[in-house]
Each structure stands twice: as structure tokens, then as C-alpha cells.
Symmetry: C2
Subunit: 376 residues, 2 copies
Amino acid sequence: MRRRNLSRVMHAVAAQGTLSRASVASRIGLTRAAVSTLVDELIRAGLLEELGPERPGRVGRPGSALAVSAQGPAGIGADVGVDHLAVCAVDLRGDVRARAVRRVDNRGRAPQPVLADLASLVREVIRTAEQEGLRPAGLAVAVPGLVARDTRTVVRAPNLDWHDTDIGALLPTELPLSVDNEANFGALAELWLGATAPADFLHVSAEIGIGAALVVEGRLLRGSRGFAGELGHVPVWPEGPTCACGGRGCLEQYAGEEALLRAAGLASGADRMEALAERAHTGDMKARAALRDAGAALGIALTGAVNLLDPRAVVLGGALSRLAPWLLPSLEGELGRRTTGPGCEVVVSGVGSDGPLLGAAHAVVRAVLDDPVGVA
Amino acid sequence: MRRRNLSRVMHAVAAQGTLSRASVASRIGLTRAAVSTLVDELIRAGLLEELGPERPGRVGRPGSALAVSAQGPAGIGADVGVDHLAVCAVDLRGDVRARAVRRVDNRGRAPQPVLADLASLVREVIRTAEQEGLRPAGLAVAVPGLVARDTRTVVRAPNLDWHDTDIGALLPTELPLSVDNEANFGALAELWLGATAPADFLHVSAEIGIGAALVVEGRLLRGSRGFAGELGHVPVWPEGPTCACGGRGCLEQYAGEEALLRAAGLASGADRMEALAERAHTGDMKARAALRDAGAALGIALTGAVNLLDPRAVVLGGALSRLAPWLLPSLEGELGRRTTGPGCEVVVSGVGSDGPLLGAAHAVVRAVLDDPVGVA
């Protein structure tokens, strides 16, 4: 009960930015005395800080404004991309306090060197965070593949060509470690940080592959083994090209990065999606046709998903958010023509390509807010 | 709290068939005195009955065995099919006590006469149930279409050609009325009555159309507006035949009843799926080819669903359970070849075509067990 009340105090303050003890008490329905005891404990643990007396002119005894500590625990998020590695530190207030990115083509690289590179970025970010007075509370890693979270193992990441990769064994870290699919972290970032996301939505993101995650009543639907959301392997044209997954005509064969770049006449490589967006922006017909066709394929695959799941909205995240202007007309055209029900709004994420990275770091931060004494 | 404890007593006895007061007390963790008070109230309300002293030879004072009343409230379930109307009464023990079925082609019939026919079957079943000493506690109606449950309105049932049909206004009944999609009730029947259903499964059923329902951790995933599960309108061949839903190449165009009968060279009409099963059973090549092709289309659509949802199992229910022997080889072939993850078991429902009807009646029964005082 005390644990739960400590968490309620943390969440109340975190949600508001700053709050007096009296306001915390009225928000969570405890006496001011009880709240003061909890607050004192959280201040001693370095999770809350007192900002000094509130500005004068208010009625009653001046209260001291509380804020979530900007010097306390931090969440370390990491993103293993096919063409990049990224790490960041987010404080309890939700601010990014340190960040390191390395562009690198990870396709065909063995897990060991990739994770050694990642570990060095993690050390770099932790160093910066500690210089800022932060204490890393955990490390969460986003990977583009099917993840068994309980064993922190990447069961299968076709675009990295990793199989049964035990991240816990290969990534040297003293921090509590969690691993999840990048599309899941991207959807959580949308849920936690997105300006407009409803509590029920299908989040679609793309890097090299295409992933999706369904949020129902504010909770991620993970599937029975944690493998839900493989939108990229929904068949679009059943007799289409063979896919790395073993299937044929999967969405990735039409709207994945490789297919898109090939159709647009661009070589593959790092930052090519930026180049594609640039070409489309300048009116390149081949780039625009490639994006139009990819949008149509996305629309067909999403028709199936919307008919099955009835989400309140489809949110385009990751690289898709940058490409949305040229994907949306054909995507919405197919979806509108084909869906049975009263349709489904398609919105573009404001979180963008950083979703998986931010979602991972915020997952650690939220774990601290949910159980502050576990960390304190 | 008292309400909740009354429900816990009912569920404990219902789950075991018969149970002594002492066993109820130990199962739900209340004192024997508290349980006796609750039990007495439930007996007075006609929801529990005392079967007399338990057989001798047991240690201690002989207890009286309790059972859920076979004379108490009953759930009335109704199924509006495209080619039939069916109504049944199920008692609190889960036994079907009355039943009436009328074969009738409801395609193109206006809602009014269909629901008038249904009301007469409901009256017939209620009469029989009352003669058996039962008290109907509510009526639940399964319909093959999108249902807005809060307004008890069929938003759209393409195979009946109903739109915005207010069942509450058109079905004369004094009973508390609820309305839901037949695939939802079918999946709930599988969850509640099926021998082998896990807590996470995708239930696929067919009558004229093809519906599905996803059960996650023992709960039905209804979608944001209650329209989830439209597997029949997942695109299989995007440039295929135009569908009643407005889409093209939907699963129903390949595995729906009309498509199946046409491919098998059978005229449409009531009981034609039985005729198709019979032909396949006797080795008719055209019937078998039709079912093989339908199974392949189902396998392609289910590949998308399994990749998105990662259910523990796919359960074939309704008319599909009878046709499973000829659908399964091609269905499992496509699913096995195409799915990304570690695959998904396909099982055949033991509940069969009665699923929606039984699910509807049991939904009323479970509502009584969940809130016995609301009825008593």
C-alpha cells in the first residue's frame, strides 16, 4: 500500500510538472499529513525535489512547490537499427539529457560486434548522464525483430539476420536490462508522448521492415507469445515475390525500405529514406510513383488489419511519418474503398523516427514512477 | 461487497456442480457463518437449492450439498441466421431446457417480419421453459453483422441487407435485451464451453459470411467501436471480385457460402452446407476442389491475422467445423508456409454450429451468476 501510494505521488507530480503537497493530497485523496510523509521519503531518495515557496499572493500558508527530480534516476534507451545504433538518457521529467547516435550498416553483421558498439554508446551516454547528476536506473533495448522478453532473446530479426540472439548474454551492462520489439516501443512512445493518440490505435512504423503494434485501452496487445504486430508480413499479393520470412507477396515486398528504394531507382544504404523523401519533395516522378504504390500496398494490408481490429485510428510512425505526404493519398484511397465499417482515421505521428528510442527510455522512467521504492 | 460475495458463491457452486457450505467457504475464503448467510439468501431467491445431506461416512457433521438451481432463472439465446432462426433456453446449470428452430431464407427480408418470426419462437421457448419451472432472466440475440451494443442496433449486416436496424424497437419482449455479433457469441461459447480452447485464440466461424473474434487472456477483443473480427472482409486477392462490403477480393469471395456452393456446382439455399459436406464426404471432386481452394484463401487471410495478433490457436467454428476435414490441408499448408513466427495451431471447435446460439444464452446465464441479486 505504501509502495502504491509512493507511486501515486510520483505520477501526480510528474503529470503536472510542479505541484504543492496540498494539491498532491487533494489529487490522490490522502490526508496532507500522509502525503507529507510520502513526499519526505521521496525527497530523501532523490526522486522529488522542493522548488522553494510558491509565489506569494495565494490564499493560506505558502506551500512549497514539488517537482520530479531532474537529478535523480534516468532511463537509458537504446535502439538497434538496421542502419544505425542510438542511445539516449531521459530523466524523470521526460527530458532527453544525453544522446549518442552512430550510423552503421548492421545488415549481415554478427550480434557480438553490433552489441559491443552499442555497449560503447551506452557507456558514453551514461558518462554524460552522470556528469549531469543523473543515476541510470535501467537499460531498455529496442530491436527490429521478434523478441522473447522473458529471456531477453531476439528470436528472429530477418533484416539483421539474427536468430536466437541472447541480448542479455552479449550486451555487457550492470543495469537492469529489458529488450522489446522496436514497433512496440514506438507505439508506447506514441501513447505516452504523442499529442493526439487515442487509447485505441494501430501504430505502424517502418525502418527497413514494417512493424505495427496495437494499443487497446491504453495497453499494448502483445500476442500470446509476444510476437503480435508483424504487419510487414501480412500477404498483400499472395503470389508476389518471395519474402525473407518464407512467405510470398508480404507487405514488406511493396512498402519496405528495399522495395521502395528499388522502385524509386535509389541505391540502398544509410539515410536513403531521407534521400527518397527529398526526391519526392522536389517532384521526382519515380520517387512519387514508388511511394504511391507503397501507399496502396499499405492501404490493402491495413484494410485487413482495420477490419480485424477496429482501432480508433491508424498512426503512421517512424520513417513513414516523414514519407506520409506521398503515401497517404493512395493509402487512404484503398482503405476508404475497402473497409467494411465506418472507416478509420489515419494520422501521422508527431514523435517520428525517434519513437523506438524514446519509448525504450521512457519505459525505464515509467517503471521508476510505478515503483519508486524499488529504485530508491 | 455482499453483491460480489453472492456472485462468488454462485460461481463456486456452478463450477463444481455440487458443493457443501463448508467447501464453498474454504474455496472463497470466507467464514462458514458468512457463507451460510449468503447461501440462505440465494436459496430464498431460488438461485441455489439444497440437495439434502451428503452421503454418510465423511468425517464431521454431515453437510448438505448445494447445487445451482435447475428451476431458477434461465438465459434465452436467439440466433438470427441468414437461413434460419433459432432460440433456446439454458438454465443456470448450463443445460439446454428448451429449443426452437425455423429454417427460413432471411436474405432480402425486411427486419420487421424476421423479428416478428423470432419473437414467436422466443414466446414458444419461454412457454416451454416456464412449464419446466424456469424464469427467463434475459434475452440475448446473435446477428450476422456489425452491432452497436449500447443502442442494440445492427449497424450493417450485408448478408441480410439490414442497415441501422434497431432490434430493441423491433423485437417485442419484456425481457432485458442484449444484441451482439454472432461471431462474438460463437467465440464466447468456445471460451466457456469448448473442451480445449486456450485463453488466447482467434475463433473463425462461417455461416453465409465469415466472422472472427479474438479472445485475449479470456476476454473478447471488441475493437474501439465493437466492430472487430471482420475476417471475411480481409483482402485476399486485392483485384478479385467486388464484395458486398464495397471492397474487392475479400475472403468471403473465396470461402463464403455463396462462393463455395458456386465453385462446387451447388445451388444456394437452406442446408446447402450440409449438402456440400455430404458431397465432399462421398468423394465428389468438384466439392473437394471448392473446399481446397476455400481453405487456401482462409490460410492466406489467417496468415495476416496470425502475423498481426499472435494467437495461441486458431479455432474453426460454426459451419467451418463440419467442413474442416477438406479445408484443413490447404489452410494449414498456406499458414505454415507463410507465417513469420513459430506458427499457430489450428483446432476444430467441438461446439460447432450452435456456438452463437449457445453463446448468447450463456451470456445471460453468466450475467445472472455475476450479479445474482440483480435478478433475485
